[in-house]
Symmetry: C2
Subunit: 434 residues, 2 copies
Amino acid sequence: MELRTMVLGHFLVVSLALNAGLLYRDYCNGRRKSQDVFTFNGDCKNESLVTKSAFLETNKAPLPSNAIISEVIDLDHGDPTMYERYWQEMGDRTTVIIPGWKFISYFSDKRKLCWFLEPEFENAVIRLHKLVGNAVTDGRYMVVGTGSTQLFQAVLYALVSPNASEPTSVVSAAPFYSSYPLITDFLKSRLYKWAGDAHKFDKNEPYIELVTSPNNPDGSSREAVVNRDKGLLIHDLAYYWPQYTSISSSPADHDIMLFTVSKSTGHAGTRLGWALVKDQEIAKKMTEFIVLSTIGVSKESQLRAAKVLQVLADSHGQKDHFKENEPFFYYSYNLMAKRWKQLREAVKNNKLFSLPDFPQNKCAFSGRTFSSQPAFAWLKCEGETEDCEGFLRDHKILTRSGKHFGESAKYVRISILPRVEVFDQFIERLASIN
Amino acid sequence: MELRTMVLGHFLVVSLALNAGLLYRDYCNGRRKSQDVFTFNGDCKNESLVTKSAFLETNKAPLPSNAIISEVIDLDHGDPTMYERYWQEMGDRTTVIIPGWKFISYFSDKRKLCWFLEPEFENAVIRLHKLVGNAVTDGRYMVVGTGSTQLFQAVLYALVSPNASEPTSVVSAAPFYSSYPLITDFLKSRLYKWAGDAHKFDKNEPYIELVTSPNNPDGSSREAVVNRDKGLLIHDLAYYWPQYTSISSSPADHDIMLFTVSKSTGHAGTRLGWALVKDQEIAKKMTEFIVLSTIGVSKESQLRAAKVLQVLADSHGQKDHFKENEPFFYYSYNLMAKRWKQLREAVKNNKLFSLPDFPQNKCAFSGRTFSSQPAFAWLKCEGETEDCEGFLRDHKILTRSGKHFGESAKYVRISILPRVEVFDQFIERLASIN
């Protein structure tokens, strides 16, 4: 039993490290003991590049590692490894080859406002939006970022007045993405500050509202809720893709829209996002932020993402050489449909939990009428269980508590995007809890 | 004459955009007119992917483009395109091939504190340091960042107390890297603030001193200058490589050392740096910063840099298949030596300018005794010229004024790292000024 606690501790530590550091706070404060148990003190030191078996030896736990590891199911963060299999099946079509002498310069195209944006990537993104019909690209400025996390910060910087006497309030309707407050406040900027749930914002002062649609964590479709003067909107559309939700008949046409490859194609390790921006001055200031923050964005990431997006679009083009492969969004739609069916089955037979229902809508991309099948499940513990995250942790399912999303701890967010073995094991375990 | 001013204006705008946005301020304020002349209003919009000729048409300037462009020599930023030729000559040895399904996850190695650091990259960096002997790696934590620009910010975040009543002062001895003040202050953090020239810092309170050695802009070897209690040091060793300066017989052994591929191998577009950190808690907080800022670092960049660094080290290994190629640091040393010789010749015959002298030191890596040949020339306008940058701009040589480095405008910083055609043209023009 002590060993199990140790293993669980380890996985907690690992899972905590993700999603823009939400749980780093816990990691650095409350949960350090778990790490110490694992004598990670020497870890990350150069001389300690240990193999898995060495790692287990370090912990004096000479047990079969797979058996132990499989006991804990980590669905705390949205690591989209579900997509690996599709890209594997596509073989070498998405393989990227980069000669060592290319892309040495800081510049991608000196003539552009966004001079570190690779034209190949820009073109692939535009083609993708035109294929899916989920966002207007004509007449927009594109700004590339190191994931939409960096772009979110770039937008804050671009929207605030540098000379304002008070920091601008940043709000989002609860439940909101758990990283927003942390990212907004971690540098204690005098330019902006996190001001919580948009539903409760009632000040007559400038504010920025984040509209995440479909929403992370609960998958709902969203519009702005404050609707006052002096408000500026950021639309985070990371999940507005046809495997998760119906695409509306008119493409999204907001002033500032954020997207990321992590949740569209699944390439989270690429750390790449893009913003579509109406206003030139805002696009300029966002570019300025990215220059100050990281002097541009990895060319390698942009080249690889360009290739992946091109093949994705090709897969929908009915070309002969793709005959043996399903188009990307059909494959991923079917996979999400299957997982949500499994999940709803498991929950239906169990009075301890409930899941949100979503209205049916016709998808202008696929022609199908369906209910949303989000990347995360927003699960509620019914009855007397107040700490749903703790309850599931006792069953070795790691999730993220609703309290991090500005909501009750009766809720948890669960990733639906892990590899199939992990997901199936999760469904089995969830169904067995009673 | 008016056309020339326009062309010059364009190049100013382009050059201004770099080096962590130093000149973005000018760009956004004083110099916007130059841009407007070029009707860049439509630029960066998706529909405006223009060719060079189209760009000239837009500006209604139907003149041979090469002739115009070659008139302006842009050495304002340190874009290291000088290195392109070496990697070209190495052929496909440094070519990187990445299958579309790999490196999808956020994680590189879940067991490590720095879980987004690719082991291949880490190993290549360690091998490189052991080859060159420029820094201690044993017993250090390695933290990877999106360039050393991001790592610098990560260190600030890691060193300050989150609960301090006053922002911690950040200082560096003038002339200091022009981006340090901008990066420190652009988000108006309550955690830290730029406090200028370290020589003038006399407060009895916590401070952080940046020690850049060899120094950007002036190439001098440096040590800390404040040396008070409550001081913490960051050593920026971006230029501590044997093509620029002698490597000391004992490897650098500071608490926090920053490096970047931009200035070691020349791969600026890769946006990749690394920190070697003694203290575990600091390495953890730096990792936390990078998670909050960008949720890790591009895997593609790390893989490509790993390959380039491996081939670099191989080139010094006297392997048979490398016989026809010069080892990297010999090639780049010779190139820098040649450029500095050209530059000193041009300046020697001209009483308008002077250059710093450097002491000779024996390099423990190559065995050679030589004076530093820095990546930048810190040129002084002698006599009555007070605005050296403006003076050179009149001769269509774009440089960065000393005033951005906390020094007199009689100085300018000039990049020595452009492609050979540009450098030769610069020498020719400089020699012709009298």
